[in-house]
């Protein structure tokens, strides 16, 4: 494998509280190549903060420190806000959870996607339009010319999320961070959106960080999985070896999920005291 795209060592995100500073991410280390990595955890496990910390989107009073936070040889922590803006979107981009809150309600979809290109490149108007339409087609929107002229409230959740993906992919970044990209969507649409992300990632040879609380979903779309609990990685494994996970937390999560052919009368509940050190 070549040098990793993202190289993170001992990442910490700290927030001050009335009872002293609290670490929400505690000493996270991983490297990401041109591969698909899943980060799984419950709410409050620090998985979203990890994604935000990579893009330097943690606002004060939150503080990010790391021994190393490198992207393609660039030290992200040493970049000025201005330099950071050149990386954000163009090199690393992020798909947020809910298209309803992440799209600009007073801009047409076409204009928003075009804006993503214009922020980072100079393109002629004709090229711009054809690129927007081609991108919308790539995320399987049937009638791209019509959809480009619509406002976000005029499209469904699944379509909105595809628009978000189009917007994030059009500047051709190297790494895509998808933070719960499908949890606002329902079952059948979820699979569709993930397939689109997957197809785009593999065809362009990008790196993907898929952040989710759904172990099964992550296992079927990623090669490698990090399981986070209270800001720490408790388990790292290959997706196909998830069934052999050793950490009691991972095993607990797996057991707590009902199956489609469920026969158990009661689901096992996580006993959190079993593995946490005070």
């Amino acid at each position: 494998m070549t040098a990793p795209l993202l190289d993170i060592e001992n990442l910490r995100v700290t927030f001050p509280t009335s009872t002293g500073p609290v670490d929400v991410v505690r000493g996270l280390s991983f490297a990401l190549g041109r591969e698909r990595l899943g980060i799984v955890g419950e709410s409050g496990s620090g998985k979203s903060m990890t994604g935000r910390a990579i893009l330097r989107l943690v606002r004060p009073p939150g503080r990010v420190t790391a021994d190393r936070l490198h992207f393609d040889g660039i030290d992200l922590l040493a970049q000025s806000p201005r330099r950071m803006r050149l990386i954000r979107g163009a090199r690393i981009s992020m798909v947020m959870q809910d298209p309803k809150f992440s799209l600009n309600p007073v801009m047409t979809i076409g204009a928003q996607i075009a804006e993503a290109v214009l922020t980072h490149e100079r393109v002629s108007r004709v090229d711009l339009h054809s690129r927007v339409v081609a991108m919308l087609e790539a995320v399987r929107i049937d009638d791209p010319d019509r959809v480009a002229a619509l406002y976000p409230h005029e499209v469904s959740g699944g379509m909105g999320q595809r628009v978000m993906i189009a917007m994030m992919l059009i500047p051709q970044p190297d790494v895509l961070i998808a933070d719960e990209p499908t949890s606002a969507l329902d079952g059948s649409v979820q699979a569709q959106v993930l397939d689109i992300i997957n197809e785009q990632i593999t065809s362009k040879g990008m790196g993907l960080i898929l952040i989710s609380h759904d172990l099964n979903m992550v296992a079927s779309y990623c090669e490698r999985i990090l399981v986070m609990y209270r800001g720490e990685v408790v388990e790292e494994c290959r997706a196909d070896a998830l069934a052999d996970a050793r950490h009691p937390y991972t095993r607990g999560l797996l057991a707590a999920m009902p199956h489609i052919d469920e026969t158990r009368d009661e689901l096992p509940v996580l006993d959190r005291r079993a593995w946490t050190t005070p």
Binding site: D186, N216, P258, I260
Partner: protein
């Protein structure tokens, strides 16, 4: 005895018909799931039963008594709804005690405060949480409060609108266990809306698959577990669930 009987039910939002000719009988003590993608009209059915969607034609009967189009207190007492998102369904400025006492006041049920206590115990909420506000509780605790709120007037039927989809997997397991235990202990009837098929498999006896406002198939869960579904759409749903390894 049928707990809920829906006959030739059409439901409209304005001029748009969102549910078409729906007929479904739910026996007392049974647990039935309405499954389908968003926009298929499954939540609308629950809304019509509780009186939140009033523009319908056909017949709705709860415990054998037909429901009118107006506010129906008897029906409301027997048939309570639990909403999807406990972050949105509890009043942010009312304590757990207020939230649980209100149904008693509405239905004129006399009480010395012991009912709140016993219901909290039944859903596994610590008595110390009684005077807390929703923001002081975790997601799982809030959903327990929402379920307790629904149980206060001692209904025979619970309508559940995606009761666990806003919760983490481990918390979901706790709530599912709770719902299963409550049904066993109190002999409740469940009508649950969900798109999570494993949850159906765990909690329900029968499922009705909806597509575009119509029921395309009603099947026993035992048949569903082995994948023996008749309609192509239901099989597609099953395949989507199974391929995700759940």
């Amino acid at each position: 005895m049928t707990a809920i009987s829906l006959r030739n039910l059409d439901i409209f939002y304005g001029a748009t018909k969102v549910v078409h000719d729906l007929t479904l009988d739910i026996a007392e003590g049974e647990s039935v799931a309405l499954v389908g993608e968003s926009g298929s009209g499954k939540s609308t059915v629950l809304k019509a039963i509780t009186g939140l969607a009033t523009n319908w034609t056909g017949a709705i009967a709860v415990e054998g008594v037909p429901r009118s189009h107006r506010i129906d207190r008897r029906c409301a007492r027997q048939c309570q709804l639990v909403f999807q998102d406990p972050y949105a369904s509890l009043h942010p400025r009312k304590t757990v005690d207020d939230a649980l006492s209100e149904p008693l006041a509405i239905h004129g049920i006399p009480d010395d405060g012991r009912r709140v206590e016993t219901t909290m115990a039944a859903v596994g909420l610590d008595a110390r949480l009684r005077f807390r506000f929703p923001h002081q509780l975790s997601g799982g605790q809030r959903q327990r409060v929402a379920i307790a709120r629904a149980l206060m007037p001692e209904p025979r039927i619970l309508l559940l609108d995606e009761p666990t989809s806003a919760l983490d997997v481990s918390v979901q397991a706790e709530i599912l266990n709770l719902l299963k235990r409550l049904r066993r202990e109190q002999g409740l009837t469940y009508l649950m809306v969900t798109h999570n098929l494993p949850v159906v498999s765990f909690l329900c006896d029968r499922l009705a698959v909806m597509q575009k406002g119509r029921i395309v198939e009603i099947a026993e869960v035992t048949r569903f577990k082995t994948g023996e579904l008749a309609s192509p759409y239901a099989r597609e749903l099953y395949a989507a669930g199974a391929s995700r390894g759940c």
